[in-house]
């Protein structure tokens, strides 16, 4: 059997979805953990130093970015194929569709993975453009311990003091929550990690994971909007 034929099989595709999905979830955990430094009441010093530390990883940072991009692409590619295979397999539609309840885990979350995924696909480039590239403008700088580093804290504070951006972020993170609600446990089921003893616990853990992760990302912009003022005259400000 070739690797290609494993990829082409329904199971191989779900394994790819699961592995890339788990990788992306791990990235989100690290990303949120880093973002929690925004709550440190030191005018952004800790967060800026964290950003500078990431930057100092040099080539290794590009390896991680390349890996992330590859994970995204494989995840999206497999998702599109799963979606089109579903459309082919159920050509005639039912007049009435009802869930039978009981052990069914068919929810809004599970049935809208392609939609919530598409929202995230639109969000990610915008997010990178806004915070990674400061919308093409030179980023504001700040002096910490005699070194001039990027003032990413003031970029965040400036952006999250605009209602439109806050609403956009909160809404997208709710979509993320739905995506993770099904994605977390589905990834483990796709890897064959489930057994009757573990399924209920892991399914519940999926909800907790989605709630905490999406919740964490929702709280950040809301916190900045209500409790942190936008920095005045930050050099080359975020907007």
């Amino acid at each position: 059997m070739s690797v290609i034929s494993i990829w082409n099989s329904t199971i191989g595709k779900k394994v790819v979805m699961a592995i890339t999905g788990i990788g992306l979830m791990l990235f989100l955990v690290v990303h949120l953990a880093g973002n929690l430094l925004l709550f440190v009441p030191d005018e952004g010093q800790a967060f800026n130093q964290y950003g500078a530390a990431l930057k100092s990883m040099g080539p290794f940072l590009y390896v991680i970015r390349g890996g992330l991009l590859a994970f995204f692409l494989f995840h999206i590619f497999a998702a599109i194929q799963v979606y089109t295979s579903k459309k082919r397999a159920r050509s005639g539609r039912y007049a009435v569709e009802t869930s039978k309840g009981g052990p069914s885990k068919m929810t809004v979350a599970s049935k809208s993975m392609i939609v919530t995924g598409a929202v995230l696909l639109i969000f990610v480039p915008l997010h990178i453009y806004m915070f990674g590239m400061n919308k093409g403008a030179p980023p504001p700088m700040v002096m910490i311990d005699g070194n001039e580093i990027k003032d990413i804290y003031s970029m965040v504070a400036t952006s999250f003091n605009q209602l439109g951006i806050v609403v956009f972020y909160v809404a997208t993170m709710l979509f993320l929550g739905f995506h993770l609600r099904h994605g977390f446990w589905s990834a483990l089921q796709s890897l064959g990690a489930m057994s009757p003893r573990w399924t209920p616990a892991i399914y519940t853990a999926g909800f907790v994971f989605a709630f905490l992760l999406a919740g964490g990302f929702v709280v950040l912009p809301v916190y900045f909007y209500f409790f942190i003022d936008a920095p005045v005259a930050s050099a080359g400000g975020a907007l």
Binding site: T10, R88, R90, M106
Partner: protein, 248 residues
């Protein structure tokens, strides 16, 4: 009691289908759903109309021949129940019941509510058997199988191959059926010799028959008249990955 049945009518495989609504009278709550359809057909025959065609055989929930989507649910609203075992007392007097065939690319509609499920036979032919010589029936103590393993294999073997899992799956995936068959053999000593080859072959056939990809909705488990768990799908995936990686 009486009900209105909104039932799918389709002349043949290639014809365009449509819904027709009929009033069925003189029913009693103890009647099975299929007996209600029999009553409808008697009414249609008396009027000189073509009866509604549907599959049934044992009418005691063990053969897997019957299978309809009733009000959007495979085998109707009652859990762990086949269409033939479903009683009219599960419906309200005077209600309208929508009856559709199983819809999947792998199960083409032949006429009305009858679908061609021979794709399942072809999946079984691809590996759902033991072809090594296991001799005549051995003494019970010659092949020791722990009780809990035997029970789990039996839970999988309870699959009657009705196809409700395919009908209920939003993706029309046959994973629960194939998972149950693969699991049953993978747990027992007789199935070990061809274990990995079996998983790979059956899944290749499943994919070629045009069934969709499992997205872990678990709606199949809810629809299964034999309560087969999606744990069987998890095991099927492990079996396939082991089998296919060995063959790379």
């Amino acid at each position: 009691m009486k009900v209105n049945v909104k039932v799918w009518r389709q002349e043949n495989k290639d014809a365009q289908g449509r819904f027709e609504t009929y009033e069925v009278v003189n029913l009693i709550p103890e009647m099975s759903f299929l007996e209600m359809l029999d009553t409808l057909n008697e009414q249609l025959l008396k009027r000189g109309e073509r009866p509604v065609e549907f599959d049934s055989d044992c009418r005691e929930g063990i053969c897997g021949t019957c299978g309809l989507v009733i009000d959007g649910m495979a085998h109707g609203p009652k859990r762990a129940c086949t269409t033939c075992e479903l009683r009219m007392r599960n419906f309200n007097d005077g209600s309208t019941i929508t009856v559709e065939p199983f819809r999947a690319q792998g199960f083409p509609v032949l006429r009305d509510l009858v679908v061609d499920r021979s794709a399942f036979d072809r999946i079984i032919s691809a590996g759902g058997y033991v072809s090594v010589n296991s001799g005549s029936a051995p003494d019970a103590n010659a092949i020791p199988i722990p009780k809990d393993i035997a029970e789990r294999a039996m839970d999988s073997a309870a699959c009657i191959g009705c196809g409700a899992c395919v009908a209920a799956c939003p993706n029309a995936s046959a994973s629960l059926f194939v998972g149950a068959k693969i699991t049953q053999f993978s747990l027992l000593p007789q199935g070990q010799a061809e274990r990995h080859k079996r998983a790979v072959r059956m899944i290749e056939t499943m994919d070629n028959e045009g069934f969709g990809n499992c997205s872990n909705h678990a709606e199949c488990e809810a629809a299964c008249p034999k309560n087969i768990s999606i744990d069987n799908i998890a095991r099927m995936r492990r079996e396939y990955m082991k089998g296919s990686l060995k063959a790379v």
